[in-house]
Amino acid sequence: METIKLKLIYPKWNKLPGQTTFNLPPHGPVAFAATLPEYVDISFTDENVEPIDFDEECDLVALSMMLTTQVKRGWAIADEYHKRGKKVLAGGISTMLHAEEMVNHVDSVFLGESEGRSEQVILDWKNGCLKKIYNYMGNQPDISLVGPCRRDLYKRELYNHKGVQMVDLFHASRGCRFSCYPCAVSYLGGRKFRPRPVDKVVEDMAGIDNNRLFIVDNSLAQNKEWEKELFTAIAPLKKKWISHTIEDDPEILDLASKAGAWYVYQAVYDTSDYIKERVKRYHDYGIGVEGTILFGLDNQTEDDIKRLIDFLGEIDLDLAEFTIFAPFPHTKGHDDLLRQGRIFDFDWDHYNAGQVVYQPKNMSPEKLQDLYDYAWKSFYASETQESKMFRLFCNVALREMEEGTYRPRDRRLINKSFGRDVDRSKRNVNVRVQ
């Protein structure tokens, strides 16, 4: 088969202003790339860290999109390639969430997971019979088909801040048995938890040229026996990793710690002793905690939010991330607000979880926006986000030094931040994009 040149693009999105700038190597594009046949020669551009050369020679273009805030940029990119006579495919999480609109902007939409399926798309294109929709929703492939991602496509130096390599994203499972109110994951990946075979996870993880990972599975707390098996199996790799919630069980927390758990994202949804103790228990096992705090649900009043912000000072979080509820399509939150006529903004660029796009139940949109801004400011008033991140970084570096896995900073990149020259007169924070 003759070589087909595919341009694979991860569109940029506007980062939330005021927050520390960082760019992680995206997972979706390289997971998709791994499913393509060998005769497809892929050139990958993550537009968040480098511009697209629209005139680069290619036969076909594929857009991989994760966030709702990427879709409009994806459509603009598709327009540019259409002017050049190229066909454009789209896939990924936000393609699935916004598929009805996506079909109007690209030549072909891929819905679902691509293992064992992408070659047919390429062949259809080659034979001039590309379909408008490849629909595999609700029809997940055998999880054992999920292989190592094509991380060789990354330009590694672009995911580096002053010589420090960013974490690699990794997934040990798909699907989620929970169906949380603001979340669309069960719609996207199915309501059945689908763990990858542990031996494949180990083989995949061992092959990543990075000792620091972010295990992006929605929640590791899906199955205790699987967690035990997984943590026991990956411990010898001596990787350090970030993840979402881990089971609140002493044996599992101990195994996670020994397997390299660095810090977790833990939802802080109320001011209970349970939350306080949950955070403490992670710390007892040497696992850091980044609290994720969602504002704007119907059960929250202004006072509730203020109390929650004050509570954060009592629970010793290492980091905190605040978000405003966003009614993403295919969530119960979206359905509820739609029926109640409370969504006033359908501009997908504004669905960044930092902007109010609906009428909150117990306060004005402006008040909710103010509380969100206040939360960021107050949590990081005494120590900046960058400084708190640096402390977490030091913790992991010390653990790595003890275990002999520490890699010093890359001195050649000491004056670079995500491909750009470092300006030491400025803080490394996102600026507002008009």
Partner: protein, 120 residues
């Protein structure tokens, strides 16, 4: 988040968004010569598209299966009480007018109206 069987007389299987296999609870009532079609979201027992997202596509499938005319029925969406500690899972009923604009498409039913329709 299991939905009580009291909410429906039958499970209706339908093709959701992108033909995903989907399910909802279904009750049909006739009161004062009017046909009320009540679809109930099944949450964890609905493997596909929600009743709200499916909208008219679901209504059309029910009408076809039951020999009804969409213009002659009162179509209600029910989000059932699932005994969750979270208030977002409280019971609510909305009348849906698929021929109205977005602002007037949904009308939440007061409790008395729900009770009258369901004969509670």
């Amino acid at each position: 988040m299991k939905v009580s069987k009291d909410y429906y007389d039958e499970i209706f299987e339908f093709k959701g968004e992108w033909d995903m296999e989907s399910s909802c609870g279904l009750k049909i009532r006739e009161i004062d010569g009017k046909k009320y079609v009540i679809v109930t979201e099944l949450y964890q027992d609905n493997p596909g598209t929600s009743v709200t997202y499916a909208g008219k596509k679901l209504a059309d499938q029910i009408c076809e299966a039951k020999g009804l005319n969409l213009k002659e029925i009162v179509y209600l969406e029910c989000t059932p009480n699932t005994n969750s500690k979270l208030s977002f899972y409280d019971e609510e009923y909305f009348q849906v007018d698929f021929f109205a604009d977005m602002q007037h498409k949904y009308r939440q039913l007061p409790k008395e109206e729900v009770m009258k329709i369901l004969g509670r």
